[in-house]
Symmetry: C2
Subunit: 335 residues, 2 copies
């Protein structure tokens, strides 16, 4: 029997990463990255996606017709059903672009489109830290906070699609303004970028910190520097970081109340801070903020853990997503 392979594409505002996953062991084979060149507009960018997919397939030592399908993880809003990417803040000039159809036409392979957070969540479920559970919620802590939801082994796209935008759950009504137009979104407090922004705001308001000199020198302060300052006991860094962990915990409580998954996986660059600085405090604050209903001998709450696929979750999950779409019969464009 011939082995089955899927091509996954993780399409972002700066780079397009692609790879091939072997279905049997979910091993990632060829990996490539090309520039998005978003200034070229939708047609050009779709060409770059096709280029990346072709390079990955070649690098894996395959011909395109040996690939069972192509999955594309993309920033939203988008329609999985229609295979279209709508306007996105990162991609000027886009509106209702039929990405899946174009890629399918150019490659001759069945192609599916998923939200990038959904794809990465599916990657962890299919091949990573969620392989052993039936339901999970995935939160990726980067510039924003992306999300994905899997329930009873099914990817939850939302009744009107574009669900699982977990960074835009409101955790503080009337709170910090968000670029999405809402106020008090989780990501305004707890993304890597916004954590750094809150830190810099406090520095500029005159609070002392070991990082004050760095900031005065015009050097960037990211969540990485803040985590290092937390490890060193810097008071301001500890306060800001603590707030980030608190809001992540609050979001986990709301996630538990709405869909109560087996596991919540934290992902993204920020988890480099590690178990002691990030995971343990989030777990502790979750226990504090969570309701006090208890049933002897029963675990009623999700486990909070780190994702395991790192930057590959998007590519692996996009590859898995086309297997899923074929199985579900939700391919926007069958051959």
């Amino acid at each position: 029997m011939a082995e089955r392979f899927y091509c996954g594409v993780d399409f972002g505002g700066t780079n397009i990463k692609a790879g091939v996953v072997r279905a049997a062991d979910r091993m990632l084979l060829g990996q490539v990255s090309v520039e998005t060149e978003r200034q070229g507009g939708p047609e050009h960018v779709i060409g770059q996606i096709i280029l990346a997919a072709g390079q990955a397939v070649a690098k894996a030592g395959l011909r395109m017709d040996q690939v069972a399908g192509i999955g594309i993880g993309s920033p939203g809003p988008l329609s999985h059903k229609r295979g279209e990417v709508y306007q996105t803040s990162n991609l000027p000039g886009w509106r209702c672009e039929p990405v899946a159809a174009r890629v399918a036409e150019a490659t001759g392979r069945p192609t599916t489109l998923e939200n990038d957070g959904n794809a990465a969540a599916w990657g962890e479920f299919w091949a990573g830290a969620g392989r052993d559970v039936d339901s999970l919620v995935f939160l990726t802590l980067g510039t924003g906070i992306g999300g994905g939801v899997i329930l009873e082994g099914r990817l939850v796209r939302g009744g009107r699609e574009n669900g699982a935008e977990l960074g835009h759950m409101i955790v503080q009504a009337g709170g910090r303004p968000c670029s999405c137009g809402q106020a008090g979104c989780l990501e305004t407090y707890a993304s890597a970028y916004k954590t750094a922004q809150r830190f810099v705001e406090a520095l500029e308001a005159g609070e002392p910190s070991v990082l004050a000199g760095r900031h005065r020198a015009g050097l960037p302060i990211t969540s990485k520097e803040i985590a290092e300052a937390v490890a060193g006991g810097d008071r301001l860094a500890c306060r800001i970081w603590d707030e980030t962990c608190y809001y992540l915990a609050v979001a986990c409580v709301s996630i538990a109340r709405v869909i109560n998954p087996d596991r919540v996986l934290l992902a993204g660059g920020m988890i480099a801070a590690g178990e002691r600085l990030l995971l343990s405090p989030v777990r502790e604050k979750f226990a504090e903020q969570n309701w006090k209903l208890r049933c002897e001998g029963l675990v009623l709450e999700p486990e909070i853990a780190f994702a395991s696929l790192g930057n590959n979750a998007g590519v692996i999950g996009a590859a898995g997503a086309v297997e899923l779409a074929i199985e579900e019969g939700t391919l926007a464009n069958a051959e």
Copy 2:
């Protein structure tokens, strides 16, 4: 072919309501109510459930063996899979009571147990204001706020069960303390009971209102009196009511971000306030608080509407829930 009938039981701290639903047209036939007599302890209360089911079947002109199954909607936490009700704040002395098994033994009929919010949500989906959609979220505004979630035609019970406790989503981190042990839960702001409580707090802090005399006279103030005062333009009533609508809208935004259903249905006694006083303000505030991503010609957001089955949603939905459990194969106790 014989007609199919299901018995539904809506089990609460004060009363146990039961009825029979005809599968063909989802018509509610016999309706009865017995007292819970919760002071009698779990065995006695389970006896009352069996009594109510038997009375409803008789009142519908049927024998118990003509009923295809019995569904019970119960306050949680509980396990649908195990058919057990855990400790509940309304039912002293309960812990891991095998309600479904006892009722199945006594009646000889397959019996299923669902969270009461889930059952009522399923009722609206099966026979009410959600018949025409694939996904909905249900919020019942009473003493607390109960909830239910249906996605792609499937009842979402949560990976660890006890999901859809939507009244305990945190909408205001660090906000008003909730009896569940959390802070800032939706229900601490927006349930009928807590709306009245916030109003009375403001009265007692000296704010003027047309209802001040009523309160001084020791008469109760409920959301009904407040809605009447809102209709009359009372300033305090308007402010408190407005806050309730605001928090409901904020919760709808978070619901849209997590699972983006086709529809959010509001239910419970409070919807007697009507479209002008309740539904329209919640819709307006939802539009204000919701993100500003728009895609021409596409509806990306859930519709907010009133439920249609009123107090019967629980009984009808519990009846529907046993049909569902039989179809899904999730009956805790087959005969």
